[in-house]
């Protein structure tokens, strides 16, 4: 039980926030993405989305590039390697919190496999 609470405390708060979790989850599926698509898919308004993206950019999880295509301003987003790792770690930690028995079993299985090989 205490172990579970400790695991809960370890969760990355920056990724744990639902809007930012959605942003990162969608971003990892593409190489690069325009702001317009993320706005439509996430259902967040421009202001909210910009705010969350700024936080992710500050943490080094997302790269934001602004340029003009003709006369139209475009914002392009890309998840960094650190962002991908953070999301992966978050998923693993959350899984350990929600399914502690399963994760213990997986650890035992892994240990058993390593000793038998």
């Amino acid at each position: 039980m205490r172990n579970n609470i400790e695991n809960c405390m370890k969760l990355d708060k920056l990724v744990h926030e639902p809007a930012r979790l959605v942003i990162l989850t969608v971003l990892v599926e593409a190489d690069e993405m325009e702001f317009r698509f993320l706005e439509e898919v996430s259902g967040l308004n421009k202001g909210n989305l910009s705010g969350h993206l700024s936080k992710l950019e500050e943490a080094g999880y997302v790269e934001v590039q602004k340029f003009f295509r003709g006369k139209v301003p475009v914002t392009s987003l890309k998840v960094t390697r650190a962002g991908r790792t953070a999301l992966q770690q978050y998923r693993t930690q959350l899984n350990e919190v929600l399914h502690p028995k399963q994760s213990v079993l997986t650890a035992i299985k892994k240990q058993f496999q390593s000793t038998s090989s």
């Binding site: 989850t25 969608v26 698509f37 439509e40």
Partner: protein, 222 residues
């Protein structure tokens, strides 16, 4: 409490999985899926192979046919960048096989060019004057790996695209006879791929229409 939390997370996990799937599908239309582009490319292979089997073509008709692969690539790129990316560009993560195949293609083209030059030199047929026509042909052939790397990203369009562009290079440079021989020698390979490419492109287009409906529904529910 843990169960409630777990249930909530599962429902949001499902939502996240749906969003991921939708994004992945949408991104495919930036590189891998060309939909109507594949339908047009495949149809173009049938048309060119059929017409080049007839001997009655004039050089001007050949020249006009030579422009069609370039128009096809422009149309395909418009589909990739605008029509199929109606809600902003989302680029699919690059596939490693593509870099490998382009590398092999570049090697093959380099070897073919070197071999041709050597044969000409050994046979003392070094009378080739570089006119505008030949220059167009040479530029298209040398630039082929670059064009393939940039514009021919799906496996079907890679095969048919190379075939169409080589034909285009011969036709635009006025080498109708070489184009006819090339179409007769390798046309069947391109036709076989085109037979698969046309229905696959149609299926991709149907997937796109479904995806657009899903995205509209998502927008409506937000």
């Amino acid at each position: 409490m843990n169960d409630t939390l777990s249930a909530e997370c599962h429902s949001s996990e499902e939502n996240l999985a749906t969003l991921q799937k939708l994004t992945r599908e949408y991104a495919k239309f930036s590189r891998e899926f060309a939909g109507l582009g594949h339908v047009l490319g495949g149809s173009l292979v049938f048309l060119l192979v059929y017409l080049l089997r007839r001997d009655s073509l004039s050089t001007w008709v050949g020249f006009l046919l030579g422009t069609t692969p370039i128009i096809w690539i422009i149309f395909k790129e418009w589909l990739h960048n605008s029509y199929y990316q109606f809600s902003g560009r989302v680029t699919q993560r690059a596939r490693r096989w593509h870099d490998w195949t382009v590398g092999i293609l570049a090697g093959l083209f380099a070897a073919a060019i070197v071999a041709t030059l050597l044969v000409y030199r050994l046979n003392e047929h070094w009378t080739w004057k570089l006119g505008l026509n030949t220059a167009v042909c040479v530029v298209l052939l040398i630039g082929m790996p670059l064009i393939a790397w940039r514009y021919l990203r799906a496996p079907y369009e890679f095969v048919t695209g190379i075939f169409l562009l080589v034909l285009s290079a011969f036709l635009l440079s006025g080498n109708l006879q070489i184009a006819t021989r090339f179409a007769r020698a390798l046309g069947f390979v391109a036709v076989v791929v085109a037979i698969v490419m046309v229905p696959a492109g149609y299926a991709e287009h149907m997937r796109f229409l479904k995806l657009r409906r899903n995205m509209q529904a998502l927008k409506g529910s937000a």
